[in-house]
Subunit: 339 residues, 2 copies
DNA sequence: TTGAAAGCGCTAACAC
DNA sequence: GTGTTAGCGCTTTCAA
């Protein structure tokens, strides 16, 4: 193994100089820097992560706790993972992965063994048992999602309340007098995640504000049959010119579109449909779905920037604990033109 | 921070005894073990990973290189990640994540900085530029997927050749005289992955063997429209009683089923359809799809067991370099009954 | 069956 | 601007 001593010897400097060249924590003459860098290059030296962590008390690793649901495909988890990994790499950090099935044990291990400098935890339940544990760790923890009580932890999430409001406003603009929200499947409800009530609260209060009707029908399953049933119920309730809002659109969109077509209804002509999904999904459906954006990449980036702010102790105490990413509505083909 | 010295002090033993109690690498009297374990418990001691790695030259971390495709959702990546993480935890190891967009740099970093003891690399191209780099590292590397030249590295994958054969044999059993394979979308072809030719080779040679017709139609896109077009072409080619084989069924299945229904054809009555997908996907479609299993969890488990065999230096040199997991056909609702 | 002590490779005072 | 040196917390000889 090539060590910094080898580099020092080859460059004719002390080991600490090599360290300082790499960290830039003190000024180095141009000549010395050149020689050290040449030696590093020549030996293809890379610092030993364990030794560095031990000496510096910094692992340069971020812990990431992802949901774990064998059988179920938690759609759209990958963009989070990818973005978090990218942001970490941009600051010369790596990502160590822990699955949620470990529960709090994963958290205490990450922190207790000093496997990472900070933790990002996803898929936060409203009353998540891991929150108090996370709050007691001596590494910073960022939540993606907002629990009922964040116990002083930083949270980042989409502003689902605004998302609901935007969707309703689009329906109002399209001239609908009633919106039906095709709610969340039982599996999602069971997970007791906060965004469900936040989104439905957003649609409900916006509907009141604009004086239009508001109903929620919950699919009794995921997949095609669930969507079909929910659409049928929604159409019964809605009467003519229904305005449909579809929260969990990532997976549901194609099924709901198909169900509408089966009823002889063309979205954008006979009904309006506003989805809550990423722009990518909205653009690739046929027809393209008017959507309120749900951008995992934006959320992840915000989380990571907050995290590094905390790590660098540029810890602005004025910073908000809960950061909500404002969604954006993009009108595409599935909403009626303004009458 | 609680260190092993604190534990030693509290238990009234030396630091090395604490270490040996934890590792079990030498015999300890019952009495001493009890005292040490009590102290560990009382102080909630956890060993410092960096220090341990430095002293023992073992990080207890597995590097995992996953594909990176922003925009595209690489369906079915999660089961791999989850299973690999689980298997790692079962051996008290953690997983550090690297995305493929780093290319070879990710590999050299993992090995050079001693961030992990072994590497699992996914999404292997037929002529993957990372293979020679991986082969030159001083940590073991396991590939999930088989490149043209594995450079002596261990590979684990589904036996796509057998998968193709099984699908054709089911069609023969159902009395078809011609099979049409709805091939891979251009995006998959471009990635130049070996399993495409292995699967199509499997169907082709089995068709020859059984003396039945064999055609391949490639969808010109992913998603609904691609599936629709491919099904139309397939039906034109196939004539009556077509037997359709669908390799990339994870994402395509619902679209293909819908396209068939649009043509007034009921799978299992008018046409046969054999998918290549996980049992979970096959079971949850309507109708349930007869499938050749593609079980990421099995593949991942095999990869991890090979990996730990290598790490434990129970390195059986007789072990095969390429391990192919044999798929299994399950007859469900989409194949015709034997006439 | 146990302890003492060296050293893994690095960083960061402290010295000059 | 650079070198010397004392650890970081653990494992593992070596010695008893």
């Amino acid at each position: 193994m090539v060590t910094s001593r080898d580099v020092a010897r080859l460059a004719g400097v002390s080991q600490s100089t090599v360290s300082y060249v790499m960290s830039g924590r003190r000024s180095i003459s141009e000549e010395t820097r050149r020689r050290v860098e040449a030696a590093i290059e020549q030996l293809t030296y890379q610092p030993n992560a364990g030794a560095r962590a031990l000496a510096s008390q910094r692992t340069q690793v971020i812990g990431l706790v992802i949901p774990f649901a064998p059988g179920v495909e938690p759609s759209g988890l990958l963009p989070f993972i990818e973005t978090i990994a990218s942001c970490a790499r941009a600051e010369d950090h790596d990502v160590i992965l822990v699955t949620a099935d470990e529960g709090s044990a994963g958290l205490t291990r990450l922190a207790g063994r000093r496997l990472c400098d900070a933790i990002v935890m996803m898929d936060i339940g409203a009353e998540d048992a891991r929150i108090p544990v996370a709050a007691s760790l001596d590494v910073p923890v960022i939540l993606i999602g907002v629990p009922d009580d964040s116990a002083g932890l930083h949270c980042v999430d989409v502003d689902f309340d605004s998302a609901g409001r935007l969707a309703v406003e689009e329906m109002v603009a399209a001239g609908h007098e009633k919106v039906v929200v095709i709610g969340y499947a039982p599996a999602v409800i069971e997970r007791n995640v906060n965004y469900v009530k936040r989104f439905l609260g957003g649609t409900a209060s916006a509907a009141v504000l604009h004086g239009i009707g508001h109903e929620v029908v919950a699919p009794d399953a995921t997949g095609r049959e669930g969507a079909r049933g929910a659409v049928r119920k929604a159409l019964e309730i809605a009467g003519s010119r229904p305005g449909l809002i579809l929260p969990n659109s990532e997976v549901q969109t194609p099924h709901v579109l198909q169900a509408l077509l089966d009823h002889g209804l063309v979205p954008g002509r006979d009904v309006s449909l506003v989805g809550l999904c990423t722009d990518a999904v909205a653009e690739t459906s046929t027809p393209q779905v008017t959507n309120v954006s749900l951008e995992p990449r934006d959320v992840s980036r915000r989380a990571m920037s907050t995290l590094f702010r905390l790590l660098d102790r540029r810890d602005d105490p004025a910073a908000e604990l809960v950061e909500l990413v404002t969604p954006r509505l993009t009108r595409r083909e599935t909403t009626l033109a303004v009458p």
